[in-house]
């Protein structure tokens, strides 16, 4: 066994190195370019094989059994079942407008937008299902017997209701969707269940929600103060410069400050969501603080900037490592009872998710 480099005190550990990952990611990039992007399905698979196999859960490594071919098939299916009809609808709606049925044409043209809204939720569900069903631990996999069609509907109305009450129900829609999604997943014979409570993250959300108002009020006071200070130093001209400088500082603060507060909310949400997720007698927790997330994101930006963009190939590595290093689990697993999952597996990959370009977790 080769677990010397792993954090032995944690249930999860990661022992990959970016140098080894580069040996996978760089040829992947080359092959993706020369195949006009088609290789990216196989590239994703190879990256995941590396990341999964360098991830330890308790005393055994994970294994990724997905294939590039099934991702490719998923993509082709989405193109045939979704992109082509959307293209056709655009054609018909344009033709309707051209013939004077403007209202019908515009209405028909909006249909794909609704479809995308529904499919976003469906895609998120199915991507999670796909990833669990292709993850092996001690030969055992996860999955779900649910197709996610109902989740797509939930996603639509919960997201809608979340924004309805001037956005105050967004934390509820986020936790409730997390609970619903994970509640339908299983690994081996056991189901996951999640009871994330939006009450626990509401204070953080209010901070995010109210801060723009505080910023503006504070900003006006600051600008006035700056203007006065400028007046004291350099008369009327000084007042102008002072007020300008204050506004400038305020603008920077507004963008970065709001960004930081958004991250603070997200960090809290993630701790609450993962921390209330269970799998039989095992419960999970996520340790990343707001500062950890900020460091991750600033690191991402710096890496991409200083490599003139090439560094983007390491982002999936960094994010996976971040997730695993902050993920904890405690409780008992009875290996004798941990039998193979009987859930159905889809033959195709996460085509929808790929088409909409969103993350699974």
């Amino acid at each position: 066994m080769h677990y010397e480099n792993m954090q032995a005190d944690s249930a999860f550990g990661f022992d990959g190195t970016w140098q080894d990952f580069a040996k996978i990611a760089l040829p992947n990039l080359l092959l993706t370019i020369v195949t006009l992007g088609i290789y990216r399905f196989w590239a994703t698979t190879r990256e995941r094989q590396y990341l999964w196999s360098h991830t330890r859960f308790v005393d055994e490594r994970l294994e990724w059994t997905g294939t590039g071919k099934e991702l490719f098939v998923g993509f082709v299916l989405v193109m045939l079942l979704f992109a082509l009809p959307v293209f056709g609808i655009q054609f018909v709606s344009q033709a309707l407008v051209m013939r004077g049925y403007e209202a019908a044409g515009v209405l028909l043209g909006m249909l794909p937008l609704f479809a995308i809204f529904y499919l976003t939720g469906l895609a998120r569900f199915r991507a999670l299902r796909y990833r669990l069903s292709r993850t092996r631990w001690r030969g055992i996999r996860g999955g779900s017997n649910n197709q996610g069609l109902g989740y797509g509907v939930s996603y639509m109305w919960k997201t809608f209701v979340g924004y309805l009450a001037i956005g105050l129900l967004i934390p509820w829609s986020m936790t409730s969707l997390w609970n619903e999604r994970w509640g339908k997943m299983s690994f081996g014979p056991y189901e996951f269940n999640a009871h994330a409570d939006s009450g626990n993250i509401f204070a953080r959300f209010l901070l995010f929600y109210l801060s723009p108002i505080i910023f503006v009020v504070g900003g006006v006071i600051a600008a006035a103060t700056g203007g006065l200070a400028g007046y004291g130093l350099g008369g009327e001209e000084g007042a102008g410069i002072g007020a300008m400088a204050s506004f400038f500082i305020l603008a920077i603060f507004f963008y970065f400050g709001l960004g930081v507060i958004a991250v603070a909310f997200y960090a809290k949400f993630y701790r609450e969501a993962v921390g209330s997720t269970h799998w039989e007698d095992l419960h999970f927790s996520f340790e990343a603080s707001t500062m950890d997330w900020i460091k991750l994101l600033i690191g991402d930006v710096l890496i991409v900037m200083f490599t003139l963009g090439l560094g983007f190939i390491f982002l999936s590595y960094r994010h996976w490592k971040f997730m695993i290093e902050n993920l904890e689990a405690s409780g008992d697993i009875l290996l004798d009872d941990l039998t193979q999952s009987t859930t159905k597996t889809a033959k195709h990959g996460e085509g929808l998710l790929d088409a909409f370009d969103i993350g699974a977790f």
Binding site: A95, G139, D336
Partner: protein
């Protein structure tokens, strides 16, 4: 070479999560024996598949038992290693030919595919049957209903003008669109529209004959189909680049022709006008006007100028075509007037407020 040996091994049966530990024994035959406290198994080598190479270990699967996993140390004796399935890195035949050669082959195929894709409109466009284009055009733009101006006298004048520049048995469909812009377009399906703005701007019927001939030229030389295919390809490329769907650009209005296509259309117009003894001087004057230095005029003509070759050059070509020839007027003053007042006199013409 050793013909038998034993090595530590771990395996999972794929039915539960219990790890079996023991030894893998090989006696030189076609099978591998696994011996442990909790499990004993004999596997034919032919049933084994390569799984992955991870941190000092090799993982093998069984074809007959998809979730079975056999984990062996990576430093196996060469005799056994030769019996086990080969390691895969990139998968498929990339491993066989090597990364360099595979990349070169992919690149060659990709370059050929891109070249084919980019040039497809030029060689495919003219080969699309006229009937298909007509059907496609009808599906896309229809007949514009009541948005085209129509009076009996105006229609007759327009038909006469069209006869002069489109002698074909099956003529293109021409109409005057109720739009104030100085412009004219050729649409899929052999439809040509003169905008009322252009009709009002024209000083002689010969100017209109020139412009109409030019647009008919686009239809006859299959430029419309070519441009349509190019637009179509572009929308595929754009939707592929961001791998998102829903924001395909499919704007007829943004359809443009190459300068060569514009020259070809001009040439077509000149040839037809010569056959019908229509003076090309009208068209020449039109181009002189839009290429002229009067700012107000340039402003109103910006739509036509932007997508076309230098007007002075074109005017010169039209002027040259007139040298040493005599012409007959293409329309009478009365007919020209009927064409000019067509939109005003049509009692139930509708506005064209969305399209161009």
């Amino acid at each position: 070479m050793e013909s038998s040996f034993r090595t530590p091994a771990q395996w999972y049966d794929g039915h539960n999560a219990i790890r079996h530990e023991g030894e893998a024994l090989w006696d030189g035959s076609g099978t591998l024996s696994l011996r442990g406290f909790s499990s004993e198994l004999t596997l034919p080598f032919a049933d084994l598949e390569f799984g992955e190479h991870r941190g000092g270990e090799m993982v093998y699967r069984r074809a007959s038992e998809p979730d079975f996993r056999l984990i062996l140390p990576e430093d196996l004796p060469p005799g056994l290693a030769a019996k086990l399935p080969e390691k895969k890195v990139y998968g498929g035949w990339i491993d066989k030919v090597g990364l360099g050669k595979a990349s070169a082959a992919f690149a060659a195929v990709s370059v050929a595919a891109v070249a084919l894709f980019l040039t497809a409109p030029d060689w495919l466009g003219p080969r699309v049957p006229h009937s298909w284009e007509r059907n496609l055009g009808d599906a896309m733009v229809g007949d514009f209903g009541n948005r085209l101006c129509s009076t009996p006298e105006g229609d007759a004048a327009l038909a006469k003008l069209l006869d002069a520049v489109d002698p074909d048995e099956q003529q293109v469909r021409a109409g005057v669109a109720n739009i104030g812009m100085v412009n004219a377009v050729a649409l899929p399906g052999g439809q040509v529209l003169l905008f009322d703005g252009l009709v009002q701007d024209a000083e002689t019927p010969e100017e209109l004959a020139g412009v109409l001939g030019h647009e008919v030229g686009h239809v006859r030389e299959r430029h419309v189909m070519t441009a349509l295919l190019r637009q179509f390809g572009l929308s595929i490329l754009l939707s592929g680049a961001n791998s998102g769907v829903g924001d395909t650009v499919f704007g007829l209005a943004s359809m443009g022709y190459s300068r060569d296509a514009e020259r070809e259309a001009d040439e077509f117009a000149r040839e037809r006008m010569e056959e019908s003894r229509v003076s090309p001087l009208g068209a020449a004057r039109f181009f002189e006007r839009i290429g002229g230095d009067s700012e107000a005029e340039e402003d109103s003509l910006v739509g036509w100028v932007a997508s076309h070759p230098a007007p002075r050059e074109r005017a010169k070509a039209f002027r040259k075509a007139a040298e040493g020839k005599t012409f007959a007027p293409v329309l009478t003053a009365q007919e020209f007037e009927a064409l000019k007042s067509m939109c005003e006199d049509d009692p139930d013409v509708e506005e064209f407020d969305f399209f161009f």
